[in-house]
Amino acid sequence: MGVERSPRGEPGNDVAVALSGVTKRFPGVVANDGISLTFRRGEVHALLGENGAGKSTLISILSGMQQPDEGEIRIAGRAVRIASPRAALKLGIGTVYQHVLLIPSLTVLENLMLGGPWWRPLDRAATLKRFEELSGLLSARLDPDAPVGRLSLGQQQQLEIMRALWHGELVLILDEPTSMLTPQGVRELGVVIRRLRDHGVAVVFITHKLGEAYELADRITVLRLGKVVGELAPGQLRELDERQVVDAVIGFMFGRREAGEALEETLTGEAEALPRHAVDRSGAPALALQGAATRGERGECPLQEAELEVWPGEILGIAGIDGNGQKHLAEALAGQRPLSAGRMVLNGRDVTGMEVVQRRSVGVRYITDERLGEGTAAAHSVATNLVLKQIGRPPFWAGGLTRWPAIHRHAREQIQVHDVRTPSEQTPIAKLSGGNIQKVLLARELDPEARLVIFNKPTYGLDLQNTKLARDRIRAGAGTRGAALVVISNELDELLETCDRIAVMDGGTIVGVVENAPGAEAAIGRLMIGADAA
């Protein structure tokens, strides 16, 4: 990662917020279990932990979205109750969430003016004054009258930070702030974070990327199953090198060293590249996409002149910054979105005009990144979701009649084979965790008849165990059966770990394809930021 190692300044001892014994229970889980933590002014404090470690709950308590069942929060030595998000902002605790929560059709200034009491007229002059103050603090250069929809994601994040700091600069909470940024954006964010720290803000930085925590944080706290399991204070962090920090954190996260070993590779992105079987590219490609174009709604990036070739048994990665046509590419390949120009050939057959059902019958499979948004019918059972793409077809339907016993039997088998953790096959799928929903999707899409499988962000939102599992299944999917695999991801590490070649998307087209060999990372990075003309 390209972020400079920060010179660690002397940490302030000025306590901004102190939590003691904070506990929050949900049905069946203790999300936060007696958490005691201190966030100090002038310090960047990273919170690390797997999915389900309790990070999100802790943020929602600090930002006033939820109330702790037990424990105390003290600000400047005084116990406070953070009753609502507005109360949190008034206390100077601002949160920037992973997903942008701005209104794209409004201008920068209008977005900042939202949230006042309904009876108070909008005060442009005062808003502009505060905007300029914060622009100075962040060294941001945003046009106050530009519609937010036209800003880059990095600029939108700067705006979110301004909004979080609007009522006071005590605590800034950043939830996975780098997940949607370019490497350049990550660097810029690093600069902003350091400026804020030096200004005396207590920055809380939630991440699951160890590298970023090491580069940016003065203090690292590790959460596991709702508890604080370890902390590296500024003094310790200064003495250790990155390798030692990784070891320490892994030790906290998994308790035993051995248990963590396989996961550590996933975590640090240093997994051994798979022993690559040679892909035979002498024959015809399994998939050829030629001159493909799509039509998009406003705010979407359609395909333009997109060209792809994937050979049998090959895993092709699609890298690129989010919103550069990846979604349309996946949908066009799956048959969910018609091509307005160009054609698609699968194993010598023109499938351009085929829709989802027909494409499925010739072996096209699509594992969507929106597992609940479109991949599953939330209120329907695991069993129904496992056969979602076969409705009306044998063997689970005969003459239009549903054979529920067969569907349930099939589901019980799949649940066992794929180790899906669910109370029963009749449980509504939305009740399952993200990792288990992904297992259901993988079970549905990866069958021996698959000839082309499209994975869209296959590990998005998964914890380490499930990330590793999903990547293993991708690797197993290609070599053994000779299917062509397309893996779309914005995590370069993931693509480097799994793919044979990596194509880079920019502005709805493929700007270049890089063989996954030493030096690929740099070549991809240059293509992504447009430094290389393809």
């Binding site: 969507t368 948004g373 329907h380 409705i391 549903t402």
Partner: protein
């Protein structure tokens, strides 16, 4: 330990019973207070409604007969609502089909068509008219994503108005002084069951609701419609033709409403006067939600409301309580069902935490 579990299960069953009975009780109490405010004796009113709607043989038969159009409308609404389509235009679809049948049936009889063919032709025409009246909202929804709540309601107003125009102009029976359609002779109407006043349209209605229940739960079409209803994007992802199913679900739904109109005209009314609009659809819509789309529960609720309507209509004539007081009672029930549901939800959440 086992005893404790038994006790827990018993308490749970008691809560389930309470969830049904409490709203009914509350609605009766609050409704009673309204009656008192109107200067009527609530106990006498309720007793009268139960006697006339349920206990007297004539009243019971009238209640069951009334179920026929309600059940057919309900069957259609189950399909539409499960497919996520708010067909709120059933009243227009119902009335327009009813008016066409009212005009067509006597002329077919006059033309010498056998009884069974008259019925079949009228049913087919009613279903077709109903379905045709849903094409515009279906098209707007499927092709342009326009909200069907608005478009079906507007089509319903147009349908009701058009039905009136038809009665007053082309379908008017000149031999009567008030504008109305020609009357279908009693012997040409739907046959009675045994020695009762109940016509066989009720059986058709029951068959329709049960048939739809099985269509939705046991067939691929039903599951596809449910997926469209639960999340259209999931349906597209699974390769389900959302466009086609939108048209189909609207057509099925409206065709059943049209059939309801045919059954009411050929079974009970025999003729339609201008400005007649029973607005059954508006009454049935909330029942579908109370029954949570379950066909068997829908039958139960429809029976309950038919009793309330027949009893209420009787009471209106005898005690001077306006007919629309039945609607007040229905509205109160719905409000209290919702409130109790909400409280129960909160209780379960608390227990879970």
């Amino acid at each position: 330990m086992a005893g404790l579990q038994e006790k827990g299960r018993g308490a749970e069953a008691a809560f389930t019973l309470l969830r049904v009975l409490l709203p009914v009780l509350l609605a009766l109490v609050v409704g009673g207070l309204i009656l008192v405010a109107l200067g009527k004796d609530p106990l006498a009113y309720y007793r009268f409604v139960v006697e006339r709607g349920l206990l007297s043989p004539i009243g019971l038969q009238a209640s069951i007969t009334r179920m026929a159009p309600l059940l057919l409308i309900a069957a259609g609404l189950i399909v539409a609502f499960r497919a996520g389509l708010w067909n709120l235009g059933v009243d227009g679809q119902f009335l327009l089909a009813a008016v066409f049948v009212a005009a067509l049936a006597p002329s077919l009889v006059a033309g010498g068509l056998p009884h069974i063919l008259v019925i079949l032709v009228c049913f087919a025409v009613a279903a077709a008219i109903g379905a045709a009246w849903s094409v515009i909202p279906a098209y707007l929804k499927a092709e342009h994503g326009i909200n069907e709540i608005i478009s079906t309601l507007m089509m319903s107003f147009l349908g009701v108005s058009l039905a009136n125009v038809l009665i007053k102009l082309p379908f008017n029976d000149p031999s009567t002084t008030v504008p109305q359609t020609a009357t279908l002779a009693v012997e040409d109407r739907l046959a009675r069951l045994g020695g009762t006043t109940i016509h066989w349209g009720v059986l058709l209605g029951l068959a329709a609701v049960i048939g739809v229940h099985y269509l939705m739960s046991r067939t691929s079409l039903g599951l596809k419609l449910q997926i469209v209803g639960s999340n259209p994007r999931t349906a597209i992802h699974a390769g389900i033709d959302v466009r086609r199913l939108t048209f189909l679900a609207f057509a099925i739904s409206a065709a059943f409403a049209g059939l309801g109109g045919a059954v009411d005209v050929m079974g009970v009314q025999g003729t339609i006067r201008a400005d007649w609009n029973p607005a059954y659809g508006i009454l049935v819509i909330p029942l579908i939600f109370l029954a949570r789309f379950n066909g068997w529960a829908v039958i139960g609720f429809v029976f309950f409301f038919a009793v309330l309507m027949i009893g209420g209509e009787s009471a209106a004539r005898r005690m001077g309580v306006p007919t629309f007081y039945v609607l007040v009672q229905v509205a109160l029930l719905l409000v209290f069902f919702a409130v109790v549901e909400m409280l129960d939800h909160a209780r379960q959440k608390r227990r879970g935490a």
